[in-house]
């Protein structure tokens, strides 16, 4: 049941979009490079935060694509291409991770052999946390993600030309393999990159916490871009408020999930009251971090929850656009809050740096640039997907 008459007309974004992305990336990269030469130990923390911002949007988008296939969802089929475009920076992560791997000694206490030699706990952990194993693990996981990105997206694009329904079946199989792999690999990545910054701290919920944040931000990025394209008339005319209602509901669900996980992690540690766990939250309650912690509770949970609660607000495109940008900003602040207070491990004291902004600009630039590039080359809608017609006809 191939659909040649889906009613989609291919358009090209104004050329300034790609330029904006490129300029943002160049400004961010040049100032970031200058910062790295000037103060490498501070710059790597900024780099790590922005790297995770890019990673969580990209991998979260790939997860959304996989969920769409695995659940055979119809309403989201017209949106799937946008998630695919957002996921297109996954292969870039393999290149972007190299500077981080080269400056492991600035990030992690466990990479200093002299410190490990005098610390029994770090010695016990060194079986897992040592530089060679760490690097191999990170690279292998990024390769697995890139492989699945390549396979799933290749099938999806081939279908645009051939209309072969077997490709959808293949992608369903691939997605079902990818989802559990994603769960394990994202947990490993979050433990490696963020939890091991505070080498002696552990929380079993940490991986789920970052998964919730990544999915929130991927959905927010999808919502923001789709609303923008809908408003400017680039999106399919049959996309109605009912589609955006479903998207808003999914975002609402993951905001609640994030709140649930964040609170559960906090409450278990608060209730257990063990000094080896509580110190992590105590650090984030000292000085100005107290206000950041409170702001995250309100900004990452209560504000989006209250905004998206009612039925009309989920179909209101302006509100949806505002709240998706808000969630993206909150996700960055959340990552910042996770990473920055752990800086003291190498004897550094936290202070705000302009590098935080330059690396963020670079990662946003990469997202915009890649999206624009993909938009030029491929259809915005999977035109011959067997589920597309049902997806376009979807109504509440």
């Amino acid at each position: 049941m191939a659909n040649n008459d889906s009613g989609y007309i291919k358009k090209v974004l104004p050329s300034k979009i790609g330029k904006i992305g490129l300029i943002l990336f160049i400004i961010g990269a040049v100032t970031g490079l200058y910062g790295y030469i000037f103060d490498p130990s501070r710059a790597v923390f900024s780099y790590l935060t922005s790297f995770w911002f890019l990673l969580s949007i990209a991998v979260g988008s790939l997860l959304l694509v996989a969920i769409e296939y695995a659940a055979s969802a119809t309403w989201s089929t017209p949106f799937r291409r946008m998630s695919e475009f957002l996921a297109s920076s996954i292969p870039l992560l393999i290149i972007l991770v190299i500077p981080l791997l080269l400056s492991i000694q600035y990030l992690f206490v466990w990479s200093h052999t002299d410190v490990v030699a005098n610390d029994h706990m770090l010695q016990a952990k060194s079986v897992f946390l040592n530089t060679p194993f760490f690097s191999v693990r990170v690279i292998v996981i990024l390769l697995i993600w890139s492989l699945f990105y390549y396979l799933i997206i290749r099938n999806s694009r081939q279908q645009d030309n051939s209309g072969d329904q077997a490709l959808t079946k293949n992608n369903i199989k691939l997605s079902i393999i990818f989802i559990p792999l994603f769960a394990i690999s994202l947990t490993l990545q979050s433990i490696d990159w963020i939890m091991s910054l505070e080498t002696k701290w552990f929380s079993t919920m940490f991986g789920v916490y970052l998964f919730a944040g990544a999915t929130c931000s991927a959905l927010a990025a999808l919502a923001f871009i789709s609303v923008l394209l809908k408003e400017k008339g680039y999106f399919h005319p049959k996309i109605t408020k009912d589609h955006f209602y479903s998207l808003g509901t999914l975002m609402f669900v993951f905001i609640c999930f994030w709140g649930y996980i964040a609170f559960s992690q906090y409450m278990l540690i608060w209730y257990g009251n063990l000094p080896e766990e509580t110190f992590w939250f105590m650090q984030r309650w000292e000085g100005g971090w107290k206000f950041v912690s409170l702001f995250i509770i309100f900004g990452h949970f209560i504000v989006p929850f209250a905004t998206l609660l009612s039925h009309p607000s989920k179909t209101n495109l302006k509100k949806l656009k505002f709240i998706s940008i808000w969630i993206l900003a909150m996700h960055f602040i959340d990552l910042y809050w996770l990473i920055m207070p752990s800086m003291h491990g190498n004897g550094l004291h936290y202070s705000f740096s302009w590098m935080d902004i330059s690396f963020l600009a670079a990662s946003v630039g990469i997202i915009i640039f890649m999206f624009n590039k993909m938009f030029e080359r491929y259809n915005l809608i999977p035109v011959k997907d067997p589920k597309l017609q049902r997806g376009l006809d979807f109504h509440l």
Binding site: F263, Y266, M267, W270, Y271, N273, H311, L396
Partner: protein, 387 residues
């Protein structure tokens, strides 16, 4: 159910969801507004087809949920932090993180239950508990596999023939006339109904009580009431002397207790030597204990001029030559053992505290017998400190 001749509504049954949506749109466009649609499952797009505005029942959920949440939070604050403060795991009395799961659950519970009750109240028009559509063939069909629509006589444009022909033109499988039941309304406060409810409530609870508590009583949790242990003073069948409380083996010493070897000897030939080093903290403690236990008889400065003078045997001054010449061990022995009218203090004052009192008595004696040369030394100290 017996039906009267009064018409309630004209109903029609359709085969497919698309037809019923089209029918609803048409009925709405014709200007009818007292009509409703019954389907076996929720149909997407029906709200729009019927021209319904968004449901107000969400506000019931919102307000009842908020009420439930704030009520339970206040309740926990009142019970755990205000009225009966309970210390749990070193947490503050008002332990907000621990209260959040409960607040969440109660919010959801009250919100859901109140929504359910509100829907029933609106649908049945409580206190009435019946709807004219109940027990009709129409309702039996549309709750299985067909889609139905009906227009009631309350509609200002109601015209039986016109409506039937409208339904037929829309492709209805069958049309149906629904009459009101003979007894139009069944009130929830009908005497028979209320008596029946009371009978059921009393009967159920009474028979349950009799059955469980009288006929087949089983203690629900008895593992705390009956434990495998002896309580104090209980008879034991195991030991020959029938005592469950065993006497300790001869020579047993309580943990932390060091026996005093000269106990009960009035004039010991040898005594212990002072094991303490008089630090400032120790002397402060000695002063405190001295003022508590010794000063009532010996006076605040050990001059035998206590506030109980005349009401009690007078305590002697501790500044006499005899007592100054006593060894520390002898003073300790007197405190521990008592002397003449003075009782033994070994049960009230610990070993360490007794030595501290001895040291403090030495301080008092030294202070009482200060010499002029001491003043010079004090002056020296103050001038060196001043520089």
């Amino acid at each position: 159910m017996a039906r009267s001749n009064n018409l309630h509504s004209v109903a029609a049954i359709f085969d497919t969801p698309n037809k019923i949506i089209k029918a609803a749109e048409k009925v709405r466009d014709e200007g009818y507004n007292k009509f409703d649609v019954n389907t076996p499952y929720p149909l997407h797009g029906m709200d729009k087809a019927m021209g319904l505005s968004s449901s107000k029942v969400g506000f019931v959920t919102l307000f009842c949920g908020l009420f439930g949440g704030s009520f339970i939070l206040l309740f926990m604050w009142w019970t755990l932090a205000k009225n009966y403060q309970l210390f749990i795991g070193g947490k503050p009395f008002f332990a907000l993180p621990a209260f959040i799961p409960i607040t969440f659950e109660i919010t959801v519970l009250i919100g859901a239950v109140s929504t359910f009750i509100a829907l029933i109240a609106v649908f049945f028009k409580l206190p009435f508990n019946n709807h004219p559509l109940h027990d009709t063939d129409y309702m039996k069909t549309v709750s299985v596999d067909k889609y139905g629509i009906y227009i009631t006589t309350e509609d200002p444009k109601f015209d039986k023939e016109k409506i039937i022909s409208l339904f037929k033109s829309l492709g209805a499988v069958s049309t149906d006339l629904i009459y009101l039941p003979k007894q139009e309304k069944f009130s929830m406060f009908n005497l028979k109904f209320v008596l029946f409810l009371i009978f059921v409530a009393v009967g159920t609870s009474g028979s349950t009580y009799l059955l469980l508590n009288k006929l087949m009583y089983i203690t629900p949790f008895d593992w705390m009431e009956f434990q495998e242990k002896y309580t104090p003073q209980e008879t034991s069948l195991f030991f020959g002397d029938r005592r469950s409380m065993r006497t300790p083996v001869d020579g047993t010493v309580a943990k932390g207790f060091i026996p005093y070897p000269y106990k009960g000897i009035a004039n010991p030939t040898e005594v212990l030597s002072n094991p303490t080093i008089p630090t400032e903290d120790l002397l402060k403690m000695g002063k405190k204990k001295y003022l508590t236990f010794c000063s009532p008889c010996h006076g605040n400065f050990a001059e035998g001029d206590s506030r109980l003078n005349g009401q009690f045997p007078n305590g002697p001054t501790l500044h006499s030559d005899k007592i100054i010449k006593y060894s520390d061990g002898m003073l300790y022995h007197i405190i521990t053992n008592g002397q003449n009218a003075m009782p033994a203090y070994d049960l009230q004052i610990t070993r360490h505290e007794r030595w501290a009192i001895v040291d403090y008595i030495r301080v008092l004696q030294r202070a009482k017998n200060a010499k002029n040369s001491d003043l010079v030394e004090i002056k020296k100290e103050s001038t060196t400190n001043g520089q």
